[in-house]
Amino acid sequence: MIQRLIRIFITNSLKMISLLLAVSIISFILVCASPIDPVQQYIFSLGTAVSPQQRAEIEEYWGVNEPPVERYLNWLGEVLKGNLGESAIYRRPVADIIGQRFLNSLALMISAWILSGLIGFALGCVMGLYQDRALDKILKKICYILSSIPTFWLGLLFLLIFSVWLGWFPSGFSSPIGVLSENVTVWQKIHHLILPALTLSLMSFSNIALHTRQKLIDVLHREYAQFARARGEGKWMLLRRHGLRNIMLPALTLQFASFAELFGGSVLAENVFSYPGLGSAVSAAGLNSDVPLLLGVTLLSTLFVCIGNMIANILYGIVDPQIREVHK
């Protein structure tokens, strides 16, 4: 068992490394191909006139005139050493910015992830138990509708209702404006986190709910479940004794595999709520041609998604005996 897990782990890690390398190459090519000249943008952002000589110096310093392959190898070497370069808009090392903002994003994503998992799983169980009843139909409709709503629009609605009209929540940022970061209490941070997290989780729970519903219905139609019902077990007892064990791990697997959507959604949610995480950093980087930051966030997001997929694969290997047989 453990040997098998190690094997899955190793094959997945190798794959992850190859994917990360490919992503770094592709994103580097894309950034190089961009007609938006980073030097020009940088000079533009300085706001002062720059002589051609100074411009040449900047180009020399940044090394934009070297051949792309060489530039890529230089960059990759530095990245492997942990140096992601310096951000052009924040004038700080990219690794610092990412580290700091990633914590913010992580808090947002983890809370949304747990919330959507719990809501989705609970609703899925309820829908499965009350299959084809009014409750099930209503919830199913809600799930379908929620999955067609753009994240940022839902965010705007929440902003409008809860912070503009009702005034329950602040309209953005991870802490109150004008308060030193040392004085921000945990409660204030949570207060600022609630709306974005709620938006993000509402966007992603429908997937897990519909999946859980389907699995539970499958289980409840099995013979052992019917026998249990004939023995007189009620709905909830049935769920506890036979349902949960069978549907919990697949749901968890699915939830781990949804990291890509989670990250994509967080980019939008953070922009709506001006939450200082990676998502708002990446769109600012793209708009201001901050290439090092853009590349850094892309790599990090790929790493994040790959780790989620790897966990999902490993869990899948544990859950599904058929896959277990293949790997033997």
Partner: protein, 274 residues
Amino acid sequence: MKKLNRRKKVIIWTVFLVLVFLCLYACGILIPEDVIASDFLDAKHMPSWKHPFGTDALGRDLFFRTLKGLSISITIGMIASAISAVIAILVGISVAVGSKPLDSLINWLIDLVMGIPHTILILLISFALGRGLKGLIIGIASTHWCSLARVIRGEVLQLRSQPYIAISRKLGKSSRWILVHHMLPHLLPQFFVGLILMFPHAILHEAAISFLGFGLPPEQSAIGIILSESMRYLSTGMWWTAVLPGLTLVCIVLLVDKIGEHLRKLIDPYSAQE
């Protein structure tokens, strides 16, 4: 009223959808620019009979801007999802050739594209192409084919092990003949349903990317741009600028999604038991 079966429902909905799309197209072409020109005397009006969706901070009529934006979104969505679906079917079919390395390469490629969050990848591509319509379409087209390609790949693998394909091969038919005569007819329904179900995703992504400022230029009236402008005025209580255009987008998405789901159940009756 007599209960309609699924096929009839699909036909009715499709006719309705085509009508809506045609209307939107006509609006996109026919609405002259001066209807949505800014008029500062008329700015920040609540929805009324004269302006069904109200006017924005620059006094532009939001109803016509929304219609115009939707016609752009639909065009982008259609082009992007068509390209994406063609990529998907090409990738899926290339599995039918049957070489193992090619299959693993394709799997790896799918994992690669799925490995980068779509929003980030579209953002990168649109950055690479200098932000604008072209980047948006290419970005959306190159990210949405994965799941459909997986479905088609699975289907092809399953078809390949069917007896009649093996017999056909033993009878000396070439791979291409088998592909055209035995496989494509099975794959086409999947292809069309995949295409239709891809469309809502495509326009949602289009709106999202425009919202972030990477898509169409700000003077265009795409939905994403209207919404991102509305964000600035939310705190002053201009709710209609955010709510109404977004709601129309959601309605279009739901409509297409509904037709796609019905079609999917028509070609795969097993899943209708869900």
